[in-house]
């Protein structure tokens, strides 16, 4: 559960909205077509793969639902989700197959 107060949570919501808009508006509205160093544009391309795997890895290995103990059902579901996503390039298919795997494993392992 989120421990923040209501005011803090609203602050996060508003600042995240404003910050995201400014990122989207950055070149289109502010920077224009002034030349940027190539390494900047290059680095921007890697931001999702740099952040999300690191964010998700501890959640997969040490799930809060099992008090941080690695859980075979969740590990299997994670592996299947990655495999389906990588092979089909289809986000929705990966979510569905991953969820079905999770429920199947939880049911099997009782």
């Amino acid at each position: 559960m989120i421990q923040l107060s209501d005011a803090q949570l609203w602050l996060v919501i508003v600042l995240l909205g404003a910050g995201t808009f400014l990122i989207r508006f950055s070149f289109l509205g502010i920077i224009g077509d002034r030349p940027m160093p190539r390494w900047v544009l290059r680095a921007l391309r890697y931001t999702p793969v740099a952040v999300i795997p690191g964010l998700v890895a501890p959640l997969v290995l040490w799930p809060a639902a099992t008090d941080g103990d690695p859980d075979p059902a969740r590990l299997t579901a994670a592996a299947v989700t990655i495999a389906v996503g990588a092979i089909t390039k289809n986000v929705l298919a990966a979510i569905i197959v991953g969820a079905v795997t999770l429920f199947g494993m939880l049911w099997l392992l009782g």
Binding site: M1, I2, Q3, L4, L9, W10, L11, V12, I13, L16, G17, G19, T20, F21, I23, R24, F25, F27, L28, G29, G32, D33, L41, R42, A43, L44, Y46, T47, P48, V49, A50, V51, I52, P53, G54, L55, V56, A57, L59, V60, L61, W62, P63, A73, R74, A77, A78, T81, V84, G85, A86, K89, N90, V91, L92, A94, I95, L102, F103, L106
Partner: protein, 235 residues
């Protein structure tokens, strides 16, 4: 308006329609996860409308559950969204001449789907007018936006009523993995992802989510450097 034959707005809407299949369930998942995390309906909907970027919203909720300080919550989630600066840059040659409020409007609607599809279409039709291109990108969002908002609303209303046995704790990790796996399409992407995972796990004990930020910066550098090396070998 110009004398072009088929309306760019409706062509955008038609091209954007298939995204609904991903957007609706994805929005719903966010509604479920945010509600489970303790956000009320107004907060969940405000986040979905103001931010309109699933990955960053999931990242923010995840960091808040993890009790990270507000500054780190924002830093992590905005870092996930930095890719949109790249989308913004790719739009400049096509839409840079539009009026300020139109550029602001397009910026709000510059999500993964609209940015990728619009830049593909604009590359193929560079001679189209600025008005055509603005109408096209807004057209893409015509089907996408209501299903994103509506999906979240549905998830938020239904989410609180689902039983514990649904293992909803794992909805977020599965969604993240499903999103990221198709993005790892080159060796540099793979190198960045593996660096991120390894360092995030090693530095997991660092306070206030600083481990993740360090891991992300290292991963960025590894990704960019790997690409640079590979290009060097090709030349």
């Amino acid at each position: 308006m110009s004398k072009e034959t088929s309306s760019p707005f409706w062509r955008g809407a038609r091209d954007g329609a298939p995204f609904v299949l991903v957007i609706a369930p994805f929005g719903m998942l966010f509604g479920v996860v945010a509600t489970e995390a303790g956000m009320d309906l107004a907060q969940t909907m405000s986040m979905t409308v103001l931010v309109i970027a699933g990955a960053a919203q999931f990242a923010a909720v995840s960091q808040m559950i993890d009790n990270a300080p507000i500054f780190m919550v924002l830093l992590t989630s905005l870092a996930v969204n930095l890719r949109m600066a790249m989308y913004s840059a790719t739009m400049v040659p096509h839409l840079g001449k539009a009026s300020l409020w139109k550029r602001a409007l397009v910026a709000y609607f510059l999500v993964d789907q609209s940015a990728v599809l619009a830049s593909e279409t604009f590359e193929k039709n560079p001679e189209r007018s600025v008005a055509w291109k603005v109408a096209y990108i807004l057209g893409i969002m015509l089907p996408v936006t209501p299903f994103w908002y509506g999906g979240t609303l549905f998830g938020a209303v239904v989410g609180g009523r689902l039983p514990e046995s649904f293992a909803l704790d794992f909805a977020m990790p599965i969604t993240f993995l499903a999103m990221i796996a198709p993005m790892v399409k080159t060796l540099p992407h793979l190198a960045a992802a593996l660096t991120s995972i390894t360092l995030a796990l090693l530095l997991n004990g660092f306070p206030y989510g600083t481990g993740l930020i360090l891991a992300a910066f290292a991963a960025l550098a590894v990704g960019a450097l790997t690409e640079w090396k590979l290009e060097g070998n090709k030349a």
